[in-house]
Amino acid sequence: MSYSPEVRERLETDAKEIIGRYPKPRSALLPLLHLVQSEDGYVSDDGQEFCAEMLGLSKAEVVGVATFYTMYKRRPSGEYNVGVCINSLCAIMGGDQIWAELTEHAGVGHDETTSDGKITLERLECNAACDFAPVMMVNWEFFDNQTPESAKQLVDDLREGRPVVPTRGPGRLCTFKEASRVLAGFPDGQAGDGPSAAGPSLEGLKIAKANGWEAPRPGAQERGSEK
């Protein structure tokens, strides 16, 4: 099997734009693999072949790279990639319990997809939102401060097609394929959605403002914090 001429033409146009961003073509490989995922939902055989052709690489070279990175799916996966952070801090704050209850509830485990093709569950390592622990990610959007109940509700909503909104992100949750296209470098126009910052991100600033604390004004410096 290979891409239809129309798909092929569209992918080639995108691929050429990606390659044009870089001084050397091979640098385009990671975004090209994201592009392939935006078409197929995973890094397909055709997709690897396509990347190899576009960059003049052997397919083995492409496969070698694709298998190194955890975001590249090696088989068809769900419309929604639902991750639960199980690194120490989130695990201890409740991520372990969320994972246990969610896998039980959804009936699938790590890197497994529900039979309706909607949900793939994933155990995540730290996603850099520790002050919002326990953290979940759906298609790499933030779902902060989760509980076992909210996690199960989230998965139910996704499976039933009810609208789901990330805590810090766009007003509309996109599919895994759509997310992959943004990662390939093709914006979806949703950057302006959502807050600048929220919750814990603003704690320090709030305290500084409440106390009238500011960085020193230029030209008026004492050794600020030094006793």
Binding site: L29, Y69, M71, N127, C130, L183, A184, L205, P216, G219
Partner: protein, 428 residues
């Protein structure tokens, strides 16, 4: 008492802080582009800015290593692959204030005579990628990027590049391999990236927060920046409090602030509990305990107490937490993320994980403590890059501070802690 000093975080509460309207006119970049590049490098050297990505290498000195008039292209690569467990500052910074980073990129690139720069962002943060993409586009539309920026004759192309899930790509040479389209595995140094980096050309790799701090230094002066912080750890930094603390979050403060001061601001340890252990700068920095509450959080003081300032990722754990469980999870992380290039890290983290699993279940023996310490000794200093070294920090420090807790696991044949008690909802 030390006061907070919001600079990079100062506009985060504006609804449009991530747009040019909410940020400003790039006045520092305008000023910089009318200045001799070497004067900018000198200014950053004078400011005392040290890398905010963990290692703390002096930023201006790094820039100064770039050979000039060598006829090769120079590159700036921003390391936005924030993945160290506990570290969560660059992600909100890029989400709320991406223009501070882009303005810093312009100034830094100009100083090192680069005409091409890259922001390598971890792929797992879609909305942050969107925000940075949009900010870059906005800067291009305004003529702040591209050709003849501000009429100075200086040209700069900036590419936003998404990673694909690999902690190791935060290691600067692995990041370069990844950006060149390879598996992200670290390179042998020397040659250092300043001489042979991206495409074997002179390259500066700086952390997001380091680069984003540069516009404030250019705008306010090296003395202004150096007036904050301590003698050898100058300026401000974002301190990220997470875990069992009343108000976790981002606190921007002069280096040298203490955890006691930060906890005071953050409402202390969650109600009814007390501090047990914490990381000063992510999971790769040896853990501290309550006896370290007054250690000034600067590079020297934290180092003198046997840990590292790292990324100021303060993960706080109270007395409900099993340290063995925490260390097991970090170890599983390192084993998962080991790139496989060198034997000590690849094999060592794998075996550490096996032994720790047994220990956590209470099925180990005291000999296992000797074994994990021995494995860690054989990883530390013998690995190809700092990932392996980092994996040993939780092992060595937890055995040092909490040996009895390990022993307790085999005495009772299981974990003496109730995991439900340490959850967010467990204490209610």
């Amino acid at each position: 008492m030390t006061q907070l000093t919001p600079v990079l975080t100062s506009n985060w509460d504006l609804p449009d802080s991530f747009t040019l309207d909410g940020y400003g006119e790039y006045s520092a970049a305008r000023k910089a582009l009318g200045t001799d590049p070497d004067a900018i490098i000198q200014m950053v050297k004078d400011s005392g800015l040290r890398g905010r990505g963990g290692a703390g290498f002096p930023t201006g000195m790094k820039w100064g290593f770039i050979p000039q008039n060598d006829g090769k292209p120079h590159y700036l690569v921003v390391n936005a692959d924030e993945s160290e467990p506990g570290t969560c500052k660059d992600i909100p910074l890029m989400m709320a204030n991406p223009h501070s980073l882009i303005e810093g990129v312009i100034i830094t690139s100009y100083a090192i005579r680069a005409n091409h720069a890259f922001i390598y962002i971890r792929g797992e943060v879609l909305h942050v990628v969107r925000r940075v993409q949009a900010a870059v586009r906005e800067a291009y539309e305004k003529g702040y990027l591209g050709t003849d920026i501000f009429g100075s004759g200086y040209d700069l192309e900036l590419v936003v590049h998404s990673g694909a899930g690999a902690y190791i790509c935060g290691e600067e040479t692995a990041l370069l391999d990844s950006l060149e389209g390879y598996r992200g595995q670290p390179r042998l140094k020397p040659p250092f990236p300043a001489v042979a980096g991206l495409y074997a050309c002179p390259t500066v790799i700086n952390n997001v927060e380091s680069v984003a701090s540069v516009p404030s230094i250019v705008a306010n002066g090296a003395d202004w920046f150096a007036g904050m912080g301590t003698e050898k750890s100058k300026g401000f930094g974002i301190f990220s409090l997470s875990g069992h603390v009343t108000r976790p979050g981002q606190y921007e403060a002069p280096l040298g602030i203490t955890l006691r001061e930060l906890l005071d601001m953050a409402g202390g340890i969650r109600e009814g509990h007390e501090l047990k252990f914490w990381t000063p700068g992510g999971s790769s920095t040896p853990i501290f305990t309550a006896e370290h509450l007054d250690v000034p959080l600067d590079f020297e003081s934290v180092g003198a107490k046997g840990s590292m300032l790292g990324t100021r990722a303060l993960q706080i754990f109270d007395e409900t937490t099993c340290v063995v469980r925490a260390v097991l999870r970090w170890t599983e992380f390192y084993a998962h993320e080991s790139c496989g290039k060198c034997t000590p890290c690849r094999e060592g983290t794998y075996w550490l994980k096996q032994v720790l699993k047994r220990l956590e279940k209470g099925q180990g023996t005291e000999d296992d403590l000797v074994t994990i310490t021995d494995i860690a000794d054989n990883i530390l200093g013998r690995s190809f890059c700092a990932l392996g070294d980092g994996a040993t920090s939780p092992i060595h420090s937890s055995v040092k501070h909490f040996r009895d807790e390990y022993l307790k696991h085999f005495e009772i044949g299981g974990c003496p802690f109730d995991p439900a008690a340490s959850t967010v909802w467990g204490s209610k």
